[in-house]
């Protein structure tokens, strides 16, 4: 029995540090540092507030999406849920309903949207990718039926201010506060509670988790519902931020969210990933886009960069692991000679 329990859980520091989420975080810091010093117009408060404000929808949905992907599922209907929530908000507002009541209704609607996904996945055992491609069309379709071709813009000013305003004169959009609360909550739940442990267990092996007494379906159900709820609240924010409710709000948002989450090192097969990585991924993509626009990089070239980043994000960790595995193998040999 060579090195058993006594060896403890020490890891060679290099391999520990070279987790992909840390790499993404470091990249983000470097990008920010370089942009602050060299990119014209990046560093002023207005731009930073634009950057954060425009990234918030993706950042918000990425929180529950990270957990969902870690549990081995995915939700592609989030963009449509955002759109549906906005459309309902616009339609009800046109009917003269109280805005607070509308927001509550939108939240409830999000829960229903999540529930529909969840029940199809857990009750029938359907693959979530297929289910949510279906609801992607369905929710967007319902949005279209609800609001038709209307575009509603005349929401009360103080609410619009929440959507696009800033905290005092600072660079922080007002809506960052609720997001931060949500982010901390999500991080604690995922990484420090029993529920979080179950999420990873379910993602890595639903069967083994079930044998260990994890209520697999309930875990999945709550994650889908959380995703629906956050998406619909994001829909409300979207309407207020852009001061526009149309049925087509946030078309294609799902791909941005998924791309950011995957870039952040969350394993698509479930069971692995960190919330910090996902958030870093979100802001890395957002900052990248902002900087490239400021530097007059065309939209097409920006897309190339996004694509390359994504590809590297999956190839990168693997290549890194191989390289460091080789180093680790060589080290004991070197130590001996």
């Amino acid at each position: 029995m060579t090195d058993t329990t006594a060896a403890g859980s020490r890891r060679p520091p290099l391999i520990g540090a070279l987790r992909w989420d840390t790499v993404v975080g470091a990249l983000l810091v470097i990008l920010l540092a370089v942009s602050f010093s060299t990119v014209n117009g990046f560093s002023n408060a207005l731009n930073i507030s634009f950057l954060i404000g425009n990234t918030l929808p993706v950042a918000a949905i990425a929180l529950p999406m990270t957990m969902l992907v870690a549990s081995g599922e995915i939700d592609l209907s989030v963009g449509s849920t955002v759109g549906l929530s906005g459309a309902v908000m616009g339609a009800l507002w046109n009917h003269g309903m109280n805005i607070n009541a509308i927001i509550v209704i939108c939240a409830a609607l999000g829960i229903v949207c999540g529930l529909v996904n969840a029940l199809l996945v857990t009750k029938l055992g359907l693959p979530s990718l297929a289910v949510t491609i279906g609801t992607l069309a369905l929710y967007r379709g319902v949005a279209q039926i609800v609001l038709g071709s209307n575009s509603v813009t005349d929401f009360p000013q103080n609410y619009l201010n929440f959507g696009s305003g800033r905290l005092g004169g600072s660079f922080l959009p007002t809506a960052v506060i609720p997001w931060l609360v949500l982010a901390v909550l999500a991080a604690v739940v995922l990484h420090a509670t029993g529920f979080g442990r179950s999420v990873f267990a379910v993602g890595a092996s639903a069967e083994a988790a079930w044998f260990a007494g994890v209520r697999v379906k309930r875990v999945k159900l709550s994650l889908f519902v959380a995703t629906g709820l956050v998406s619909s609240l994001t829909g409300v924010f979207w309407v207020l931020h852009y001061a526009s409710a149309t049925y087509s709000n946030a078309t294609g948002l799902e791909l941005s969210v998924v791309a950011a989450v995957l870039l952040g090192g969350v394993d698509f097969d479930g069971g692995r990933g960190t919330l910090g990585g996902a958030i870093a991924g979100v802001f890395l993509l957002g900052t990248m886009q902002n900087v490239m626009s400021l530097a007059d990089v065309s939209a097409q070239s920006q897309t190339v960069v996004t694509g390359v980043l994504l590809t590297v994000s999956v190839l990168g960790p693997r290549v890194a692991r191989q390289v460091f595995a080789r180093q680790a193998r060589l080290q004991p040999l070197r130590g001996k000679s």
């Binding site: 634009f50 425009n54 902002n290």
Partner: protein
């Protein structure tokens, strides 16, 4: 607070339009060193490519700088907002924008205007309060009525007709369709009946299938109006390869290059369009006039658009390009756009 629509309606409608205030000096000299940024609905869209090239021509003639930025998708409203933000950061002199959504750009455009940037919309307008001037391709009324007249003449004013539009939300489409329906109420159209408005979402395949559907649902259909370049092209291609070729007449808005072969082989008799290049030129001249202080966006002000002559601002700062051109077998050879 507990705001509802009715309680804020007044406040919203009585809010002063940001652009229209301020005075202008018609004889002010054209400022030099201006940068005018074009922000089309979509880059790489052939139509906007022609219009923006027109803008470039005009600016080059004036000795000002031109740039073009934009999203690769025509429904990426959030992306368009980001671009407005970026241009604000870059302190361009004026923005010429074709809005993807009438409301969503407002906050960002207002921010741009408060930073001293002049805003002209072209092709597709925002709410009037969010820009100083709108360069309209043709009056909606003229377009709508003339297309019905065109088809009426071809059909001897009898038979069922249908409209194949773009997205259900497209503001300009809906305005034109409104005038078409109004025109059809006139006595000479008593025997012409509009049976259906279909939406092809400016997607070739969808427009294609919508055309098929129209013909299956209404076997006696005699004519189709498609006031969108994508729609008319798809409808023509379908008719061309079907038994309905030459039996069902098609008109609408299209570009000569797209439609040439269909006019030559008899699938389409006539259609119309303004010159998108001229539209872009006019937008550029209007932007320069605004930035030079020659106009401020109020009704009645006028400016000189280089070789295009004098233009006067109408109500709510609308500048109209003029009547569209009708293309048919006799003249289509002369155009290349």
């Amino acid at each position: 607070g507990g705001a509802t629509k009715s309680s804020t309606d007044k406040a919203a409608s009585s809010a002063p339009a940001a652009g229209q205030s301020g005075s202008a000096n018609p004889s002010a000299a054209v400022k030099k060193g201006l940068t005018v940024a074009f922000l089309p609905k979509q880059v790489n869209n052939p139509y906007f490519n022609i219009s923006d090239a027109g803008g470039n021509t005009a600016l080059t003639a004036l000795g000002e700088s031109y740039k073009e930025v934009g999203t690769t998708s025509a429904t990426d409203t959030a992306g368009q907002v980001s671009y407005v933000n970026t241009l604000t950061q870059q302190h361009v002199s004026a923005i010429a924008v074709s809005a993807q959504d009438p409301g969503a750009l407002c906050t960002a455009l207002k921010q741009a205007m408060s930073a001293g940037i002049k805003v002209v919309t072209y092709d597709s307008d925002t709410d009037p309060g969010c820009r100083q001037a709108f360069v309209s391709q043709a009056s909606s009324e003229a377009l709508g009525r003339s297309e019905v007249d065109l088809l009426g003449k071809e059909l001897n004013y009898t038979g069922q007709i249908a409209i194949l539009s773009a997205a259900q939300t497209a503001t300009n489409q809906n305005a034109w369709i409104g005038y078409m329906q109004d025109e059809l109420k006139k006595p000479q159209f008593a025997n012409m009946k509009l049976v259906k408005i279909a939406y092809g979402n400016d997607d070739a395949q969808m427009s294609f299938q919508q055309t098929q559907g129209l013909l299956q649902q209404y076997p006696d259909l005699k004519g189709i109006i498609s006031p969108t370049t994508v729609g008319i092209k798809a409808a023509a291609q379908y008719l061309d390869g079907s038994q309905y070729k030459g039996k069902v007449l098609l008109t609408g808005l299209g570009t000569p290059n797209d439609m040439r072969s269909y006019v030559q082989d008899g699938t389409v008799k006539a259609f119309e369009l303004w010159d998108p290049g001229k539209l872009g030129q006019l937008a550029a001249y209007a932007a320069v006039a605004l930035a030079s202080g020659q106009i401020s966006g109020a009704q009645g002000q006028s400016f000189t658009a280089g070789p295009m002559g004098n233009f006067t601002l109408g109500a709510q700062g609308v500048i109209t390009l003029g009547a569209p051109t009708v293309f048919d077998a006799s003249n289509i050879g002369q155009f290349n756009f």
